[in-house]
Symmetry: C2
Subunit: 192 residues, 2 copies
């Protein structure tokens, strides 16, 4: 691994755990086994390093909606839920980092945040779309409001994930909660 990458990875880890303000470049340099000067040679300033870290963090953020094309409608929704869940568990550290940034007024370059928000909204739209398609096909009950219910599914999913992210050891495991979520919020909508 080249030095630049090593700096990025070290800074990424430290910013995420201690925050931007509490992470000094001296510590980054020491942890990455380079000199402070080298950090400045590569990134010009602490702020630039931070933006580079964020950009690199969201770079692998992607969703593949093609994967659901072949599925039946109620399964589509459950599959979207699983994909979302997997995505978060595979990116725990960076997701936790971004969430904590959203909760604060800290330095947040608009483009990175816009990208993450766009992804989230797009994903929610996919869920709402699948619900609507299910209703039109007569597979899901027309009683619910697809828009609101899709939003609730995503919010609940976020709640389950926040619990996992914060390490709150509840009575039910995240997997158990996910199962309960799918059974109550999706399966029960099926027209019998």
């Amino acid at each position: 691994m080249d030095t630049r990458t090593k700096i990025l990875e070290t800074a990424s880890r430290l910013f995420a755990t201690h925050g931007y303000g509490s992470t000094s470049l001296s510590v980054v340099a020491k942890d990455a086994s380079v000199s402070k000067a080298l950090i400045f040679w590569h990134f010009e300033s602490k702020g630039n390093l931070y933006e580079a870290v964020l950009a690199r963090t969201i770079e692998p953020y992607r969703i593949e909606p093609e994967a659901i094309a072949g599925l039946g409608v109620p399964d589509q929704v459950e599959h979207l839920i699983d994909l979302y869940y997997e995505f978060v568990t595979e990116n725990v550290h960076s997701v936790r980092f971004f969430l904590s940034l959203f909760l604060r007024d800290e330095k947040r370059p608009d483009d990175s945040f816009g990208h993450v928000l766009d992804m989230y909204r797009h994903y929610r739209a996919l869920v709402v779309g699948a619900l609507r398609a299910g209703q039109e096909a007569g597979v899901l009950t027309p009683e619910i409001d697809a828009e609101a219910h899709g939003a609730l599914i995503l919010s609940s999913l976020n709640g389950v994930l926040v619990q996992a992210l914060t390490g709150e050891t509840g009575t039910a495991s995240p997997e158990r909660l996910l199962r309960e979520l799918k059974s109550t919020l999706v399966d029960r909508l099926r027209v019998q």
Copy 2:
């Protein structure tokens, strides 16, 4: 208001928005219109000031479970949901602050965090208890697992609140989501 309190309030606001590391005592002093030295006279160190802020923040955190005693069972659950929601909206700033701390490895005095966690678990136990009572009374469907379902209700509630806390302007308002949550996660459990 005495000087000590003014310092606490100012520090509280600044720590919450900018984080511990990014908040200097010079700024706290200037915003509170006191000298830096006075902060040290009152609190000894920055770390002590921080702990004092946390202790003062959770001091008004309380729940009143007596209020639900007279209600019917499904209403009890909905009432608990409303109480939780109100509590968070009335304490947005500090709740947001605590949540962001749970997501990080930052300075977190164990007693404050333990207190907040205890409160949360106690509240979840109340919801689970109400669900179970409803099942035993034959008002709620025995199909669901009260433990897991109660945990899901709290998680979903958290998800809705996180959305409100982060300021994500979704298609549905928090109030609309809350209504959808109650109708899907509680009303639909009623034995017809």
